[in-house]
Amino acid sequence: MAEPAYTVASDSETTGEDKSSSAFPEIAIGIDVGTSKCSVAVWNGSEVELLKNTRNQKMMRSYVTFKDDIPSGGVSNQLSHEHEMLSGAAIFNMKRLIGRVDTDPVVHSSKSLPFLVQTLDIGVRPFIAALVNNVWRSTTPEEVLAIFLVELKAMAEVQLKRPIRNVVLTIPVSFSRFQVTRIERACAMAGLHVLRLMPEPTAVALLYAQQQQQAVNENIGGASEKIALILNMGAGYCDVAVAATAGGVSQIKALAGSTVGGEDILQNMMRHLLPDSEILFSNHGINEIKSMGLLRVATQDAIYKLSSQTSVQIDVDLGNELKICKVVDREEFEEVNRKVFEKCESLIIQCLHDAKVETKDVADIIAVGGCSYIPKIRNLVMSICKRQELYKGMNPLEAAVCGAALEGAVASGISDPFGSLDLLTIQVTPLAIGIRVEENNFVPIIPRNTTMPTRKELAFTTVRDNQTEVLIVVYEGEGEKVGKNHLLGYFKIMGIPPAPKGLPEINVCMDIDASNVLRVLAGVVLPGSRHPAIPVMEVRMPTVDDGHGWCAEALDRTYGSALDLVTVQKKI
């Protein structure tokens, strides 16, 4: 097979409406694009198989180097040394950057990476660039991800000897719907059609469901319900799910997730070893980048070692007469990262609470992802559940991609004579979706952890006499004020018949279908009438695009509270 051509379609290409699955069952592949590593798996007719690249690797580094004319990613590229990735020419951690604006703390924490992440703090996409022959060449997280996906696609096509179009991708639980559209766009740019985007721990839950199903088939035992707590913590994100499983059905009870992961642990440690490292590296001079790379590699190495040994000696020469020579023990490491571990703990507790599950009812605790090797993480999840051990049936680094491949086969309509694909995931919404009401308050219409597909509605009304227009501003998140949530879109209802305030009933209905498409519908009814006063509005969300950070502000500036609405007080 020839060298893959990098035919990344233009960034302006839409994700398209062609969601139609073809009639012949092409088995969709599962892709787990991790913040640091990536893998591809596919159902081979009898089981899930991980694909390997030409260097026989199942786990490939997620990065793209812009060294030569043609960018090359971690799938095919051979790094001469780890430092090459840290020379400024390679872009990585794109999963942490995609779909975020330059006021986001996660983007700010990425400024100490070797490549350039520039923020103007005005709520637009950050400027991201790779150092190519002493030139900062700009790119976008979508473009980087698309180039990487093209490589993955080419690799899979060579091995499976067929064109690949349909994929199931795993995504972090905390991704907003706007970020999801960025992932979809990257896939479209790479010529891939997204069949499903699965929150990572739900992919693990599906694998667990299949394993339980097989165990039942072999033992001919009772197919009683088993509840699993799943913690998936990688370099970029920490996600938790509680799933009830029986008969191949994985019913997600609750999800929780946050942007906290191995990258934070790494940065905390770097700061611990070299307190003013961020200031030192902020200029992105050639020498600083080199020092930063050296420190990064040494720190990463130390963190790996601390998983198996109780203390580690760090000895690194950063150049410019900067030397670090230090012994770090596990206690110190845990203290430095106390906030990270506390966040994990609170996510687990919140998820169990949301699922209304007592720890004694949890049958298995599954910890996967790179960070699951950290003793503190393992102890933490076991102590919350008051258990002595974790579930052993899965490879922590491969569980998510295996689950994605299973979902790929199921969603492609493949069946297995032995019933191995007799599976179903019942998903929930990871974040609440609602609208803005008076005084910038957020009213959820679909609460978080609502089973999908779903359709919910709520009645609102006007705040002024003879108010003829209202603004429906849709947000996603958990904040009580809209400012804390992600804006998804907005539209105006016009032509409300003049009436005293509080009289017109404005029904806002939100519908999420099985393919996770969100539609917002709004209609107006006047008392005494059975019919809508004006045509109903139906808007597919999200509608916002880049620079959406400004939209809410602009709306506020232009309209103030003139087009507000309030919730109708319901009598229960």
């Binding site: 139609s20 309509g413 509605e457 029904n507 019919h531 009598k571």
Partner: protein
Amino acid sequence: MFGTLNLPTAASLYSPPETRFSSSKRSVKAYAATATEARPYSLSAAVHPASLYEVLRVERTASLTEIKTAYRSLAKMYHPDAMIQQHHQDEDDKPEIESDSESDGRDFIEIHNAYATLSDPAARALYDLSLGDTTSQFSNQRGPFGFGVGFGFSAPNRTGFYPTRRWETDQCW
């Protein structure tokens, strides 16, 4: 849709639900037709709607385990994802997969809502009480349980201007 659920034939399951809020694919004509023709929801007082137990196809005395099992086996039949798979198995030559998976969801949402009530002991007890009473009271109970799948919550009587009305009976939607 209550009626549809009790029909075992595949044909009725794949037919698009009549009162569904438009997906963009639905034609205007279909609305006009349903507005005058079949009214599967009717006014609840006129036709006795299926109880949540009937939706899950379990006895009134069913245990929690039975309810969970029933929910899962129904989910395997009526969840839109499961229906894609069945479709591939049953009717490989029919190129209408998309339209079917598009018309998805309503059956499953209803099954899930029934399950949500019956698997919660407190909500189930409350619901059982309402079942003991007359039909009209039962239908009033439906709002708080989030039973309605369509535009179907009980409009609050806050102003006193109009009686309780449910959107799902409003065929104009």
